[in-house]
């Protein structure tokens, strides 16, 4: 089973895998259970699918539990998600009651006995009310910098019962009287979204998506949401287009059965004004190989978001050796080294200026791309996150 980790010797920094084996010696035999709301879809599930077998391979008794809930419960937690991220959502007392009841049912059904219980996001956060043993850690993947007050007050009551909380950025955290740790998300270099691809495999997918490979491609991978600012991306492209014959590809999901997605796509179409070099590509959820192929085909990757979570697509693009021009939202700037792996910009004009500068300097594209790949190798691979979890398992005192 150790081979699951040994596969990373080729892609992680020298000595990392051996270091992980030594680190795991300190926690061998300890148990850790992760709990989240979904088995598929979303960053937490993507991470746990890979991390749990890796921890098991290292001698940690790692398990992954998923809570069960009614349709009503998942509607409630979706609204709670939006409210916690600052959207104007009404969450009623009945909804909170549904949240509490489903958490109580899951607390009875799930095996939550372990040295460390890590609860991912708010959906199962209420399980802590039924804690019996072990250190309880709340891993919040959301940006809580400006939550709706009532929603946060509700979740905070549960958060206070944990022994520690983990956030993806310092700026995402709220005030809590428990230790708050910082752990950057990571990418899995061997997953379908990031693994190496052959040239023919890439071409086949990009051809199928209807994107000619005859001009430099500026790519933005993001859901069709206002916060992802597709119109700003088009504005930046138009600045570049005056001097460079290039294409803009805006690829993302979030359109099917989603009123906002449909509206954003319609407006982006209007802004594109039938320009044949602007491609709006609707992707299904978990279109991992398509995203991988698009990122590998791109000349430069743009992340012109106005509001963002950690924005791990930046690391995905850098891993493929692409310079990234990104905004300051969320974790974009935390992943980029300005002027080394890409540029941090503050406006559509800034994005256009930097994209144009890069297209004027093909050597710079290559150098920044190479620096970005190394930066991700050292800081944003799943092996680093595995080390974070093993370290936490060691340093958190058992309760």
């Amino acid at each position: 089973m150790s081979t699951a980790l040994d596969e990373y010797r080729e892609v992680s920094p020298k000595g990392t895998v051996d270091f992980l084996y030594r680190l795991s010696d300190l926690v061998k035999g300890r148990s850790m259970v992760h709990v989240n709301a979904v088995r598929y879809g979303g960053g937490a599930a993507e991470l746990l699918r890979r991390l749990v077998p890796m921890m098991t391979a290292l001698g940690v008794e790692a398990r992954w539990e998923v809570i069960a809930g009614t349709q009503e419960f998942f509607t409630v937690v979706k609204r709670l998600t939006d409210a916690l991220q600052g959207r104007d959502e009404k969450v009623t007392e009945d909804m909170y009651q549904t949240f509490r009841e489903i958490n109580e049912e899951n607390a009875k059904a799930l095996n939550l006995e372990a040295d460390m219980i890590m609860i991912h996001d708010h959906q199962p956060a209420g399980l802590v009310e039924y804690r019996t043993s072990g250190a309880w850690v709340w891993r919040c993947h959301l940006d809580l910098s400006q939550p709706q007050r009532r929603a946060w007050t509700f979740v905070r009551r549960h958060a206070l019962k944990y022994d520690a909380a983990i956030f993806s950025l310092s700026g995402f955290a709220q005030r809590l009287p428990i230790p708050k740790f910082l752990m950057y998300p990571s990418i899995d270099p061997l997953s379908p979204k990031n693994r190496e691809m052959t040239r023919s495999e890439i071409n086949q997918i990009v051809d199928r998506l209807g994107i000619p490979r005859t001009k430099p491609i500026i790519l933005q991978v993001a859901k069709f949401e206002w916060f992802q600012d597709p119109l700003g991306a088009i504005q930046a492209y138009r600045i570049v287009k005056k001097n460079h014959d290039c294409r803009l590809v805006l690829a993302g999901s979030g359109v099917m059965h989603d009123a906002e997605g449909e509206a954003v796509l319609a407006e982006a179409r209007e802004a594109a004004a039938r320009d044949p070099d602007i491609h709006l590509v609707q992707l299904p959820p978990e279109a991992d190989l398509e995203i991988n192929a698009l990122q590998r085909t791109a000349t430069i990757v743009l992340q012109k978001s106005l509001k963002e979570g950690f924005g791990v697509t930046v690391s995905e693009a850098m891993w493929k050796g692409k310079p990234v021009v990104g905004g300051t939202a969320g974790g974009i700037a935390a992943q980029l080294i300005d002027d080394v792996t890409g540029y941090v910009v503050h406006s559509a004009e800034g994005a256009g200026f930097r994209l144009r500068h890069l297209l004027n300097n093909p050597g710079l594209i290559t150098r920044m791309g190479a620096a970005g790949r190394e930066h991700v190798r050292r800081n944003f691979l799943i092996t680093r996150q595995l080390a974070d979890f093993l370290t936490l398992l060691k340093i958190m005192p058992p309760q």
């Binding site: 920094p13 051996d18 270091f19 030594r22 300190l26 700026g171 700037a333 080394v340 340093i395």
Partner: protein, 225 residues
């Protein structure tokens, strides 16, 4: 920094120890240079250590323009190059303890602000978030009993061990020199080499550059004897 350690370094054999860091958010943040000085004054010393010494553990491969978080922030987020340059030349190894280092940082910021008509602050950038480390020592299974073995181990060891023995030794053991130079002096009796290693300033660049400097010093010594 909070340490978890179950291990000691024997006198005759050098045992390499790496480390793994978890960052803890303290919840205090500064949006201008005055706030920065005020919070520097009140945070635990662990946080001063985090933003100066263990800075290198987090930027172990790529050299940033400025060698500590304070200098990096005032330049990159506020755009105050003058204060950034003054903070950049603070060498933490010049101070016998973290309290003295804290005083020096506050004194530089206060002096800078006394010459300014306005207090420079973040406009478009990010606030300064104060943090500290929880550092876990990890024995990595490499030992050296001779200079040749030592040189070989330094060339292949996880770079966190370079950090641990060069930076942490200073405060963990209250030593004026690193674990490396102390062992070479006491166990191998190579005074000249120990002094050469001691004279390497670890704040010159990244940990990988520090590794290269260590290897160069060892190779030059081995070529002469």
């Amino acid at each position: 920094m909070t340490h978890q350690s179950d291990h000691t370094i024997p006198d005759s054999t050098f045992t390499f120890i790496g480390c793994s860091e978890v960052q803890e958010i303290l919840g205090q943040q500064a949006e201008d240079e005055k706030e920065l000085a005020e919070i520097v004054e009140e945070v635990p010393l662990d946080s001063i250590h985090f933003h100066t010494h263990s800075y290198f553990l987090r930027h172990r491969f790529i050299e940033r323009a400025y060698p500590n978080d304070f200098a990096q922030w005032v330049v990159m987020q506020i755009g105050d190059h003058v204060l950034g340059e003054r903070l950049a030349v603070v060498d933490p190894f010049d101070y016998p303890n973290l309290e003295d280092l804290r005083e020096e940082i506050i004194s530089i910021i206060d002096d800078h602000l006394s010459r300014m008509s306005i207090i420079p602050r973040v406009v478009f950038g990010e606030p300064f978030h104060f943090k500290r480390s929880r550092i876990l020592e990890v024995p990595i299974g490499l030992e050296a009993r001779s200079l040749a073995e030592f040189r070989q181990a330094v060339s292949e060891v996880d770079v966190s061990a370079i950090y641990f023995h060069m930076f942490e030794a200073h405060f963990r053991l209250g030593r004026e020199e690193s674990d490396f130079s102390a062992w070479i002096r006491s166990s191998l009796g190579l005074e000249e080499l120990a002094n050469a290693i001691r004279s390497i300033n670890p704040y010159l660049g990244s940990l990988e550059r520090l590794r290269s400097s260590l290897l160069t010093v060892c190779d030059e010594f081995l070529a002469r004897v």
